[in-house]
């Protein structure tokens, strides 16, 4: 019963701050006051200056980063619950390596830079991610059931295979190497509303299903057998959650590249903070994942300004020490 409402208010407040920061910070600083004038259609002079930046660059980028962080945080929590494993993250069963292979494959084919071609890489990454998940899922299948250990092992094996192919492709096509590396590090956050609108149809259903899966994940924490004895259709529920989490992760990966660590540490932080109940944990991981990635993206923009760091480097460089610090301070050891 402790902290029943406050974590939501606190994390929403942090998210709001992160959104304002993300809109304000960049090569041109836009104070929140100007943002308000732009959005309320204020004085024309300011709208002309700041308006273009806000509406065509900052807002879509903020929206994309927010959605990506939300997807990674939520599906990370879902994967950890699904596999009952604190090491699980959204990339556990091959989404990242599949997406990487798809993206690098697309880049190595030199599509040029027309608007349509700009969509080829994300589309290939998305396809690669989903194909991998289904391939791993069906390879791990034994009769009607999909044993967790099989799923993880098949995922790991396939990840190595796909990563090897990716490395080989990158070695061969030296020209595109930099771009491909940046993509793999989560450094290709694209701005523009097309990206946001393209992933929404995949992301929203995935997130919606995950947010409704709290009770199911609670049951699964007791093991498949007990969950079934309490009335859960286990195999079907697992598959639905797996598909939803993979859909959300794949669409996040498509435009933002592979951003490590958010999907691993955000669910842990939230669990330490608010307890094990997945009905609370999932929405909190969504909000916190979005806030965390937004803050990391702001850092990525200012740390070596005027250049930008790949946000995946920031999440790992800042996230890992922060997480270790929290881990050492955590008192309730029984979180898992």
């Amino acid at each position: 019963m402790r902290h029943r409402f406050s974590p939501f208010l606190i994390s929403l407040f942090i998210l709001l701050l992160a959104v304002l920061l993300s809109i304000a910070v960049g090569s041109v600083f836009i104070p929140p006051a100007d943002l308000w004038r732009v959005l309320s259609g204020g004085t024309p002079r300011i709208v002309a200056q700041a308006g273009t930046i806000v509406l065509t660059l900052r807002l879509p980028r903020t929206a994309l980063v927010l959605l990506t962080g939300a997807a990674l945080g939520t599906s990370g929590a879902a994967y950890q619950g699904l596999f009952r494993n604190p090491l699980a993250d959204p990339y556990l069963i091959g989404v990242a390596s599949g997406a990487g292979l798809g993206a690098v494959l697309a880049m190595s084919l030199h599509w040029g830079y027309t608007p349509a071609a700009m969509l080829v890489v994300p589309a290939a990454a998305f396809a690669g991610a989903l194909l991998t998940v289904f391939l791993v899922y069906f390879m791990a299948r034994l009769g009607k059931t999909v044993p967790t250990t099989n799923l993880i092992l098949a995922g790991v094996a396939f990840s190595f295979f796909a990563s090897a192919l990716t490395s080989y492709l990158m070695l061969r096509s030296t020209g595109e190497l930099r771009r491909a590396v940046a993509w793999l590090l989560g450094g290709s956050v694209q701005s523009g509303w097309e990206a946001v609108l393209t992933i929404l149809p995949f992301l929203l259903p995935g997130l919606a299903v995950l947010l409704l899966s709290g009770h199911t994940l609670n049951l699964l924490q007791f093991g498949d057998e007990q969950a079934a004895q309490m009335g859960l259709p286990v195999a079907r529920s697992r598959t639905i959650i797996l598909i939803a989490a993979s859909l959300a992760t794949a669409s996040a990966v498509a435009f933002s590249g592979i951003i490590g660590f958010i999907g691993l540490i955000v669910p842990h932080l939230v669990r330490m903070w608010s307890g094990a109940d997945y009905r609370r944990l999932l929405p909190l991981a969504l909000i916190s994942g979005a806030a965390a990635l937004l803050l990391a993206d702001v850092l990525a923009r200012i740390l070596i300004a005027p250049q930008e760091l790949p946000v995946g480097i920031v999440t790992a460089l800042v996230g890992a020490p922060f997480f270790l610090w929290v881990l050492r301070r955590a008192r309730n050891q029984g979180a898992w």
């Binding site: 409704l212 009770h215 498949d224 057998e225 859960l232 259709p233 109940d277 309730n332 029984g334």
Partner: protein, 271 residues
């Protein structure tokens, strides 16, 4: 409502672990499944609860085939207290018991006031209401078993299965748990099927015993009828004396002698 198990056979791969077992548990009755390690006690409990595939046979509750039901409907008719297992430690006892209401909830798991009342009454029934706000990971083995029994009770089923619920419990908690099980059978008319290791515990608290050996039903009947030196020698390869219990002459008391016959090494892994 009586639980009728008929011709139940289960195989793991090519190894047959249950062979055409038939028995009936009457409402208000406690039936204990006994037998050596690997005899198939846990397998029987798991098969009856529908979590492992059955090769042949039926499980009926007043004529209705339980194994043909969806998990949700089955969980309204049959609840299971699992073996002392590692529970997710961060859930509170209250959250754990409320999960027993799952078969009556929508897919979001929204509980009503009535569900909370039933969960509360289940905890009260087992003297575990004071544990409600504690995390399951902090509870002792005996307390955890009481919470799991309360969870099964919250499922409001006519049939209760227990899989070696007294393993790892001290004497006091073993007796308390068995008392609770018998009380639930007597007062609520539940049909209770318990897999047990301890022959004397089974003799004292069960109305009837079913002795399993290598997946087959070796003997079925009253404690005095089943716990004979001959049956025990055959099943456990141990010479025993059987005496009337000093506190209740109708209850047999098994006193093991020497393990005079060579132990069977086969089938020692899992049950």
């Amino acid at each position: 409502m009586s639980l009728q198990i008929e011709g139940l056979s289960v195989a793991y791969g090519r190894r047959r672990v249950l062979q055409a077992v038939s028995l009936t548990v009457q409402p208000g009755e406690v039936l204990a499944l006994i037998g050596p390690n690997g005899a198939g006690k846990s397998t029987l409990v798991r098969a009856v609860s529908g979590v492992i595939p059955v090769e042949a046979g039926t499980v009926r509750l007043d004529g209705q085939d339980l194994l043909a039901l969806a998990p949700m409907s089955r969980a309204r008719r049959l609840a299971v207290v699992p073996q002392a297992v590692s529970l997710p430690p961060a859930f509170t006892a209250w959250e754990t018991v409320l999960l027993g209401r799952t078969p009556y909830l929508n897919f979001l798991g929204q509980v009503s006031v009535r569900d909370e009342q039933i969960a509360r009454r289940a905890l009260e029934r087992l003297d575990a209401l004071d544990l409600a706000e504690r995390r399951v990971g902090e509870l002792s083995g005996g307390e955890q078993q009481r919470v799991l029994l309360a969870r099964a009770l919250a499922q409001s089923t006519p049939v209760l299965l227990m899989d070696e619920p007294t393993a790892h419990l001290d004497l006091q908690h073993q007796l308390a748990l068995m008392e609770s099980a018998r009380e639930l059978a007597r007062q609520d008319g539940l049909a209770v099927l318990i897999a047990l290791h301890d022959l004397n515990l089974a003799a004292r608290y069960a109305d009837r015993l079913a002795l399993l050996l290598a997946g087959r039903l070796l003997a079925l009947g009253t404690p005095a009828g089943v716990l004979t030196p001959q049956n025990i020698l055959q099943a456990y390869r141990v010479q025993v004396e059987v005496r009337p219990h000093p506190l209740d002459p109708a209850v047999p008391l098994v006193l093991p002698g020497n393990a005079s016959v060579e132990p069977r090494f086969a089938r020692s892994s899992g049950e």
